[in-house]
């Protein structure tokens, strides 16, 4: 990258709650995300991880409280906040190839009267290269493995070029090389002052790849530097009593390797 980028988008939430009908999905969420952070959003299924990300991305209006982007109340999607959906949200038999998926990110940059040009294709190839997917540029998406699908999504997000990246379960069902590529790309983004939040229910991945962990189960159980949050009491509070022994063993192995 050439000149240092001026990108310091700060996101905050104030007393944020989300209700679906009579069910409470998120309750009293106060958090502040700063540039350069890699935040793991951890919790069991149904903890509200996706809901929180969708609220942060401006896709879901909170029932109570508000989201502030650089101090301004946010209403609706914001071009500097990039949301990377779960792979399962998409029909992978759709007749589209890898480059065309990535080019969806260029929609806003091009007049609807003109077709995509060489510059767009070069940009697409550049982001595909950064996730190791350039040999697959013209492959139909139904032929991709889960890990390759995740890399294509990541490449598309890179081409959107935002300041804040919200990734929903980027490590679920993907191979180890892909996990490494994703972590590498996220670290590179953070080093350039981007803010990263990824949701996961994989404790190992959460604790090895982040520098801040938010434990979530409808409300924030713990929030802080990764090394401080990983206490047995916190994990029990988040996941319930039964799961934490296994998870802790996993966790120790993970930190030992690092």
């Amino acid at each position: 990258m050439t000149a240092p980028e001026k990108s310091a988008t700060r996101i905050e939430t104030q007393d944020l709650s989300v209700h679906f009908e009579d069910r409470s999905a998120l309750n009293a969420i106060d958090l502040s995300l700063s540039p350069g952070e890699i935040v793991a959003l951890v919790g069991p299924n149904g903890a509200g991880k996706s809901t929180l990300m969708r609220v942060l991305a401006g896709m879901l209006p909170p029932s109570h409280g508000r989201v502030l982007v650089d101090g301004q109340a946010s209403h609706g999607p914001n071009a500097c906040i990039i949301y990377v959906p779960q792979r399962s949200a998409v029909d992978w038999t759709f007749p589209i190839d890898v480059t065309e998926v990535v080019l969806l990110a260029r929609r806003k940059a091009r007049s609807r009267l003109l077709p995509y040009g060489g510059a767009d294709r070069e940009a697409a190839l550049r982001v595909l290269t950064s996730v190791g997917m350039e040999p697959f540029a013209h492959v139909q998406i139904s032929r991709l493995s889960g890990g390759q699908q995740q890399r294509v999504f990541l490449a598309r997000a890179l081409l959107q070029n935002g300041d804040v990246y919200l990734l929903d379960e980027p490590f679920t069902g993907v191979d180890v090389p892909t996990q490494d590529v994703v972590v590498e790309v996220l670290r590179e983004l953070a080093s350039r002052g981007k803010t990263i939040v990824f949701a996961t229910h994989d404790l190992h991945q959460a604790f090895t790849s982040s520098n801040r962990v938010i434990l979530l189960n409808r409300t924030i159980i713990a929030d802080g530097p990764t090394s401080e949050v990983a206490t047995d009491a916190n994990l029990r509070a988040t996941f319930g009593g039964t799961s934490s022994m296994f998870d802790l063993v996993d966790l120790m192995n993970g930190t030992a390797q690092r």
């Binding site: 609706g76 906040i81 959906p85 029909d91 929609r107 032929r143």
Partner: protein, 293 residues
């Protein structure tokens, strides 16, 4: 081409051929998005739900296109509202409104003395009644539909492939879906004279589904679907004339025949093709004539 010139001595036959080809082509294009978005049932619902709008316009002596448009917008908004209710899923909402609206249309038209003849012409079309003016209207509306598809192609593709991403990327998904339903109803309305209310779904779904069997590329799929739709219109009307069968049914049967041929013989996805490929591979793996990719 001699049979064509022979038939085209009659203006009404020329109009009928032009209308069938145009309608097949336009429905072929928009049908691609109907198929990819899994909206076949919605297409069926819309075609039935706009029926009362057409009947009311007809009873008032107004332009049937306007009546159909109003009805289509009303129904798609109502379906949206009903399906946002927790105890009603989308399919049920569509089902309730489409049969209800269709019944309303039949009730209205049954008040007329010429009831059965009018009803029949709405339900199965009346291709030989296509006037030069009807043809111009079909072409104009078709051009508008194709223009809107061309201008919103990126949004339509993005929403059909990845609705969650599209919403986060700032696309007003609801707005584009409403717009899509409006152009879909326009395509349905201009098809009514040619194939009628009951069979129009086939023009929306069959050529696009056939095209999907033949290609993995969206652009190619749209082109093929338009071609198959137009060809079904042309050949269908030709068979209709020669074998004295109802034009709408004939057009749809040709489209269905194309589908069956592709289903069996398509180069990659055909049932027979895959069977042969497996047999050849097991017998002589070294002679695999269909290498992957």
């Amino acid at each position: 081409m001699s049979w064509f010139t022979q038939h085209s001595e009659h203006t009404f036959m020329q109009n009928a051929f032009m209308a069938s080809i145009l309608v097949g082509l336009i429905c072929g294009v928009i049908g691609v998005f109907v198929v990819l978005k899994g909206l076949a049932f919605m297409g069926d619902a819309l075609s039935h739900a706009i029926f009362p709008g057409i009947v009311i316009a007809y009873l008032l002596g107004a332009n049937y296109l306007i009546g159909a448009m109003v009805a289509a917008i009303l129904v798609s908004v109502l379906i949206g509202f009903a399906s946002s209710h927790t105890h009603i899923n989308n399919d049920s909402a569509i089902g309730v409104f489409f049969v209800g609206a269709f019944a309303l249309g039949i009730a209205l038209i049954s008040t007329q003395r010429t009831y059965s003849r009018d009803l029949t012409s709405f339900l199965v079309g009346s291709i030989l009644g296509v006037s030069r003016d009807d043809l111009y209207l079909t072409a104009a509306v078709g051009a508008i539909v194709l223009l809107i598809v061309a201008l919103t192609r990126r949004e339509l593709t993005s929403i059909a492939f990845d609705p969650v991403f599209s919403q986060a990327d700032g696309i007003n998904v609801r707005l584009y879906e409403q717009l899509f339903f409006i152009i879909l109803s326009l395509a349905i309305v201009i098809s009514l004279q040619t194939v009628g209310n009951i069979l129009v779904l086939a023009l929306l779904v069959t050529p696009a589904t056939t095209a999907r069997l033949l290609t993995d590329r969206l652009v190619t799929m749209i082109g093929l679907s338009a071609l198959l739709g137009g060809l079904s219109g042309l050949l269908g009307l030709y068979f209709s004339y020669h074998f004295s069968i109802a034009s709408g049914a004939s057009i749809v049967l040709v489209a269905t025949a194309f589908f069956l041929i592709a289903y069996v013989f398509a180069p990659q996805t055909g049932v027979l093709t895959q069977y042969v490929r497996r047999r050849m591979h097991y017998a002589h793996p070294e002679r695999d004539v269909f290498p992957d990719m």
